[in-house]
Subunit: 724 residues, 2 copies
């Protein structure tokens, strides 16, 4: 196994003239560098501490507490364990969380919780710093299992089970997903049939595809479960309901009669969690184990529900799942931040292709391509972080009851379904790019990229498959589009946008007007100014979403009235466009969140640098979809050609502030835990240069054969060529 | 941990009318389905066996032998091992390779080899099927360590060490890379200073950054190494040379005096290989341990070389490294094929969102987005596979001596540097997309995606960092561009292209002409025909490469004459464009390889389907870079807008042949070893549907509450609503 072998284009083998300072101290004067990058204008300076506070957001103290906990070595991921060892370690770590009161905030005050929803998720998101397995195992126990008892159960259930769930006396499962129905909860096939004779439900798995699968805590640790099953009473199937079931004997840890299962075994990551399969053979549970907040069966078997519509009832019961998506969204952003801090730190120290020369060579971060790779992802991480904070506040508003109308809940669902796919995919992309940007060192587990990436991989498909979630968003956009034509109301598509964008006229005709206004001026520089302008970015991004939705909406008009098969086929023939429209919408939400956050920054230096970063994000989005803007006449060829250069100039402007921007994430070495983020590379580089300096000073340095050849003198050194 | 929760847009909850056959046998009539997709025209049929032979290429028998070996369970990756257990297992597997004569083909006949270079690499590429760690560990032992002794040593060295290397008596390292110089071999700092008094070299590591790092076999198994160091004699540094060194005592396995090291520990993958670090403190080795084919030191210390130029000598010595790149290129394609066969097989069986309904619902592969995700990658995999075969033949020509001029070697280097980045990145992308396309099941190690992805991750940065390799390609393209202006010669840029494209006039003016010819015809359908035409695809792809190179070439004109720093800065300001041009060039090579392979297909059905696949590849490339074509006036807005639809229509055409196209890869279950590729999903689906059928027939099925509500009859079933 070896690495690379010769110089890339651009890395001249000629020694550079010694015009630059021979070495720069570890605490390099960033402001001076910044000044150079701005052509002598006074360089902006980032107020790192204030920016850090802004990034911590509304629940800053909770996050700080969670990070202090996540910094403790006993909670850190131990690498190189077998999956069984890792599972044992993580189970032990859960107790530490309990002892530190880290996971009870969301539970009712009646059982010792704090009824605090946003703060609970904020703290949970930070756990990814310690070990993603710990985070997700905690999520299974308290965010899913406990939360289901809390939200779907009633007071008696709370009193009976929540204390044991909270203190981990009852490790449990959230048994919803089945092997045959990963994404389609409504079609799960497990049944719970009421038997009035004994006042019991009979829980049964009718066939292999109906086994519960990928269930955390199922393989070894779960003593109980909330099992989702079709509730049948009196010959009627009332749809999916949740049942509390004991799974294992607390003493022997063996399955109770009628219950069986399998271990899902090793996974691509998150091996600290014992995922497994469960099946039930006519298992009888008391009637009162139905978590009956939204649907009850009386002793005689009669069913009742506060929600008459079975469809609405189903979505209400599943509504608490949004918490998982909100949690993963923020955790993914945190992981991206960890990776970027490490990779950017290393890139400011690592020199390539000239370490033995007499002068400083550029560090990796001075290369344009390296800046492109890392800064575009840094910009998106900021955007995703600000959007994540907005989502969390919305979640807290709904779950606290401060704003929990049906419309609020739908908006929350849509927002989560839009943001979670983008942030989880972005985390995988960022972790991989950072790992590659650090070369072979990036692949060593000691530098954590590969470990985090493996663990976060499944974030893209659990708690809502990203592709399916984006289709839900698209469905909502289409519905809003249909409404728009009925009553000139813009719906969720523009609700977040317009709310924050009071200065811009963002309606379809208005946008067309903006596009016209931005017609070619004949000057490349003016064209660039027009694109980089905040209102123009907003107009371009918004116009794209609206037009894409309108285009698909028109194409699908009347699809509902076609026979089932043709309607579905028509829909399917536009599926790709629909998903792209949903993604464009989600990106616009991120851009708006970044822009809204900019409005909160008062320090002029910070504001200037963050504006560059926001522009980099906005213009990168436009660049990625440039063909759309060109095909649809929204940008001229001439203006489009200026975009790449303008982005390149932004990279140069951001370069001197890159370390500040990742330092604002506020991680200490106890959070990063990456060997190459420790400054070790700088120490090695300094030692190497010191060696060569001393050698030259001593006069002992061997002469390079190339230099001898250039001088035309071989003789005295005994070198001769045998051939041509 | 749970999965997704409700229906995506497009998946109607209405039951489809039972117009389709209720179930289809495992051996579904593909031709009939194909016929449906072609609107009743006689459907093409793929000759899977013949296509399979074409894909196996020139060394088909060697590949078959290698696959038979890779099918043996004792060579398979065992999942869930610790890295130390995995290392022991893989070391044992190396002996099985030796016993089966699987790794000696490239060595000289004089020591029992076969002097067979292409076949050797072909067989090596297939080892990835068993375990990538086994592949790379074999690559370290025989492809790097043994190969260095073979290519850089002389007859005496061969006789002395090759037998022990071949039979694994001497496990060894290829100690080139240093911690401080991942990519820059010319700057390694380890020295080998000749001492004429004792006729020894003194090998020394001057500082920490000069430790050898990421070295396979270094942590535990390596008894010897080929160490690369700066050769110093008589006060002159003659540059990097290779030295044979003993590392460990064969009995105690302890380091010999003066040698030390560290274990690189757990990595992101490939944990069957014991990578480590090595350092040397004034270690003395005999003069004759210099592998002296390209540079010798006489007893008196005088240096001689058959290659006068130190630069050329360096590149000649490093030239054998190209074998590693060729090997990884093919292995990456093989891994992509494994993933696609599994994911496409599963997607033809898996039903989502309707398994309990009375009729068949679409399988995953019927969804447009799913087709986009998998078929575009299938097309690229075919292209990468054909290109890989061309590269391997070129490699064999050069290494067999049949065509090994300097120009041939440079072309080989450039071709390998172009293709290896694309195929290794593509493998990571494909493995990830396939894993996500299989949802939670894709994350289980039993389905292999995550395991292969983790192991192949480092393929993107070892044996030449992909980004650095693309810069080498760009450098060559620029050099050819400069030559073109001197003597109207197109150089490597078009050498492969024009050689295969005798029917198209591919020179700059010709291309401009083609672009003009393709000006709008006013008809969307004609426009699509124009784009999909083979000559048009070639013209568009070639024009882009040439224009990008010309644009950067013009921008950089005179950069060499600027002062060093300004010249480098100018170069750096175009680094991103340069890398993009190199990538476009490599994609064109893949497209040409695919097109050349099409020319070998005689069966009309196979040819038709493969042409669709090649078109999908070509048009996807154009779609990915559509903004370039628009900005540069190569495609009109109108024509560009037809592209997406045309691609969507290709997906529909390819759909009925998808299984044939992956079956042609020729893998058996012993190669795939993925639970979801076994047909288990179909068995589960059939069982589930059988259950519901029987239930309906028996009259025992519970009635759905929604249906009761629709009928407006609740009474007899005891259901009542408590609220609105």
């Amino acid at each position: 196994m070896t690495e690379i072998v010769d110089r890339p284009a651009g890395a001249s083998s000629k020694k550079p003239a010694p015009t630059r300072a021979a070495s720069r101290k570890a605490a390099a004067p960033r402001a001076a560098a910044a000044k150079a990058a701005t052509n002598g204008a006074p360089a902006p300076v980032v107020d790192v501490a204030a920016l850090g506070e802004l990034l911590l957001g509304k629940w800053a103290d909770t996050r700080r507490t969670a990070r202090a906990l996540a910094a403790r070595p006993e909670l850190h991921k131990a690498e190189g364990l077998t999956h069984t060892e890792h599972r044992r370690r993580v189970f032990g770590q859960l107790r530490i969380l309990v002892e530190n009161g880290a996971v009870h905030r969301a539970f009712p005050a009646s059982v010792g919780g704090a009824d605090e929803h946003g703060g609970n998720v904020a703290g949970f998101q930070e756990l990814v710093i310690a070990d993603p397995s710990l985070q997700i195992k905690a999520g299974v126990q308290w965010g899913l299992f406990g939360s289901a008892v809390n939200h779907l159960g009633t007071a008696e259930h709370h009193a009976k089970w929540l204390p044991g769930i909270m203190n981990l006396d009852i490790p449990g499962c959230f048994a919803m997903t089945e092997t045959g129905h990963g994404s389609d909860v409504a079609s799960i096939a497990t049944t719970a049939t009421y038997d009035p004779a004994t006042e019991e439900f009979v829980v049964h798995t009718p066939f292999r595809a109906a086994w519960k699968d990928y269930i955390g805590n199922a393989a070894t640790d779960g003593l109980a479960a909330v099992v989702f099953a079709q509730l049948v009473t009196g010959g009627v199937n009332h749809g999916v309901h949740a049942f509390y079931m004991d799974l294992r004997d607390p003493e022997t840890k063996g399955f109770l009669p009628g219950i069986g299962g399998e271990d899902d075994g090793v996974k691509g990551g998150l091996n600290g969690i014992d995922n497994g399969r469960l099946h039930f053979t006519h298992v009888r549970i008391p009637r009162t184990h139905l978590l009956n907040r939204y649907g009850n069966v009386d002793a005689d078997g009669s069913y009742s529900s506060p929600i008459a519509s079975p469809g609405r009832r189903f979505f209400t019961m599943l509504g608490t799942l949004v918490q998982g998506r909100v949690s993963l969204d923020g955790a993914a952003v945190t992981a991206s931040k960890l990776a970027l801090k490490t990779a950017i730190q290393y890139a400011t120290e690592r020199r390539q292709f000239n370490a033995s020369s007499q002068t400083d060579e550029e560090v990796l971060l001075d290369y344009q391509r390296h800046q492109r790779r890392l800064f575009t992802r840094l910009a998106r991480t900021y955007a995703a972080g600000f959007a994540s904070e907005q989502l969390l506040e919305k979640f807290d508003d709904v779950f606290s009851g401060r704003a929990d109308t049906d419309e609020d809940r739908q908006d929350l669902e849509t927002l989560a379904a839009a943001l979670k796919p983008l942030s989880t995919w972005h985390a995988l992309d960022t972790l991989q790019e950072c790992r590659e940007a650090c070369g072979g060192a990036g692949f060593l587990i000691e530098n954590r990229f590969a470990s985090l990436r493996a663990d976060l991989d499944v974030y893209a498909t659990f708690e809502g498959d990203n592709t399916v979630l984006l289709q839900l968003v698209a469905k909502r956009l289409l519905a809003d589009y249909a409404k728009e034509f009925r009553n000139v109301n813009f719906g969720v598509l523009t609700r977040y946008v317009v709310g924050q964008a009071t200065d811009a006229a963002i309606h379809r005709t208005g946008l067309r007007g903006v596009a016209q206004f931005m017609a070619d001026t004949g000057s490349a520089q003016k064209a660039a100014i027009a694109i980089k302008d905040e209102a123009s970015q907003r107009a371009l991004l918004t116009d794209r979403v609206q037009t894409m939705v309108a285009d698909v909406g028109s194409a699908l008009k009347g699809a509902n009235k076609l026979p089932q098969q043709q309607g579905a086929a028509l829909f399917n023939s536009h599926q790709n466009e629909l998903i792209e429209a949903a993604q464009a919408h989600a990106e616009l939400l991120q851009w708006e969140a970044f822009t809204a956050a900019l409005g909160k920054v008062t320090d002029p230096g910070t504001r200037k640098v963050l504006t560059w970063l926001r522009d980099l994000f906005g213009l990168s989005l436009i660049e990625e979809n440039l063909s759309w803007y060109l095909m649809n006449g929204r940008l001229s060829m001439q203006r489009a050609r200026t975009l790449g250069d303008y982005i390149n100039r932004l990279l140069v402007k951001i370069r001197p502030h890159a370390l500040d921007l990742v330092d604002a994430f506020g991680f200490g070495p106890e959070h990063l835990r990456a060997e190459i983020a420790t400054g070790a590379e700088r120490v090695r580089q300094d030692e190497a240069r010191g060696y060569f300096r001393a050698q030259r000073a001593s006069g002992d340095a061997p002469v390079d054969e190339k230099i001898l050849l250039a001088r035309g003198s071989h003789g005295s050194h005994g070198s001769k060529a045998r051939g041509a």
